[in-house]
Amino acid sequence: MITAERKPLEEIIAYVRPFDRILLVGCNECVTVCAAGGRKEVGILSSALQMAFLKQGKNLQVKEHTLERQCDPEYVEELSSMIDGADAVLSMACGCGVQEVARRYRDKPVFPAVNTTFMGASERQGVWAERCQGCGDCLLGITGGICPIARCSKQLLNGPCGGSTHGKCEISPDVDCAWQLIWDRLKALGLENRYEEIIPAKDWRTGRGGGPRKIIREDLAE
């Protein structure tokens, strides 16, 4: 999922201060799962904002609405019946959702209420960790299902650096050494020989090296 964290309230307040009527839009997908911008968080932020402005003697009107998927034009269209009643939109979706709303409603200021953080997985209740950087050329098939691009601090492709100690990364004892994980997994699978294979310098064209990326499926595109 795409993970996110809510921005500090002060920053959000600064965005919406010039406006009287805010449309606060959540998303039912990733940001709901990582408890950053779903229906529940929309309600909490709405109350927090109204209280903060009330203290300053301002009655901020907040219309709350959570879309099924804010990165999808089909669902973003739902806002068309509410958009005229708002001076600005505050989005609790990831950056994709914020931009989709801004693209659809060009004359309306749209502000992000969360910081989109990474593509990750839930490690346990309340803990999410980075798993993928979307490099566009997946290596997981040769690294035992553990990504050295997303999970090795140095993005090393051919084994750990000297900072790997007792399975942990030198940047923090809380960070696993990706190459220790890869080795352990290859060993468990009986694929130790694969570790010896040299992975060549990565082709970053499929990542950001080639500029903003786009997928066009000729069989689906209209």
Partner: protein, 290 residues
């Protein structure tokens, strides 16, 4: 007189672009440096021009200066993060480089290492601010330096296809000047009348304007620029002039020289891009009456 002093005293400056070799054979680079020394005020050394991997501009600048030719080196953020950039800037100063031009990096997709990772840690403004900080005795993390560098820093303007784009470029240049750029290098000038209009608008920048002169080597190059760079305003008339000439290479030289002569009253200097034909530089300057 140094490039900086000529700029300050309002003297017309003549710069020539010299690319470093793709490899370690520096014989041609050194020969060219010696050849143009004395005819130009300084050499501009691009870094990985057009995204093509070459010997670094820092090394090229130092080599040029070893031949007695003052150097101005390009710096940009595509290939180096703020650590590497700052480290190279300190190195540049101690190796005698006094002049920099902050430029945008060519898109990696247009270069010869298309699979390389793009860094882009600092953009042009970020880099200008880094240079200002270093000159002020601090690095970007706020730590004090043991001796601070000093540079004459310039910036570049991108080609603009229309008035709106030009206004945006000028606005960007204004910010770069505020961040420490003390001269501005324009894109190649083919239409002098248009340049005159632009120069008037650019007066508000209150820094010297250096016009780029691009040596047109062939009709094919002229057509390519005309087709792909609408902001260049390279006219069909100019293409035909080269096409009809009995010596097309010389015609390109004459056009470059004539353009320089006309620009003498409109800009404070020219940067001549000979695209590897440094041996033609003298002929261009002769044609310019310089």
């Amino acid at each position: 007189m140094s490039f900086e002093k000529r700029l300050q005293s309002g003297e017309f400056v003549v710069l020539a672009e010299m690319n470093t070799p793709k490899g370690v054979d520096i014989s041609r680079f050194m020969t060219d440096a010696r050849r143009i020394k004395g005819r130009v005020d300084a050499a501009v050394i691009p870094d990985m021009d057009n995204g093509v991997m070459r010997m670094s501009a820092l090394a090229g600048g130092v080599l040029a200066q070893q031949q007695g030719l003052e150097a101005i080196i390009h710096v940009y953020g595509r290939d180096r993060n703020r650590m590497a950039l700052q480290g190279d800037l300190l190195a540049a100063h101690v190796l005698g480089i006094q002049n920099l031009i902050v430029v945008p990096g060519e898109d990696m997709a247009n270069g010869d290492h298309r699979d390389a990772a793009v860094v882009d840690d600092l953009d042009e403004m970020g880099l200008l601010n880094a240079i200002a900080a270093l000159q002020d005795g601090k690095d970007l993390a706020g730590f004090g330096l043991d001796g601070s560098p000093k540079f004459t820093v310039g910036c570049s303007l991108a080609p603009a296809a229309d008035e709106k784009a030009m206004a945006a470029e000028l606005a960007a240049a204004r910010e770069k000047v505020a961040a420490g750029a003390r001269f501005v290098v324009t894109p190649p000038v083919f239409d002098v009348d248009r340049f005159a209009e632009f120069a008037k608008q650019a007066e508000s920048l209150k820094v010297p304007l250096i016009a780029t002169i691009f040596l047109i080597k062939s009709v094919a190059v002229a057509r390519y620029i005309s087709f792909n760079e609408p902001g260049a305003h390279l006219s069909e008339e100019m293409i035909q002039r080269i096409r009809k000439s009995s010596d097309r290479e010389m015609e390109g030289v004459k056009i470059a020289g004539e353009t320089i002569a006309k620009l003498k009253q409109m800009a404070q200097g020219v940067l001549i891009q000979t695209m590897g034909w440094e041996h033609r530089l003298s002929a261009i300057l002769d044609a310019a009456g310089m």
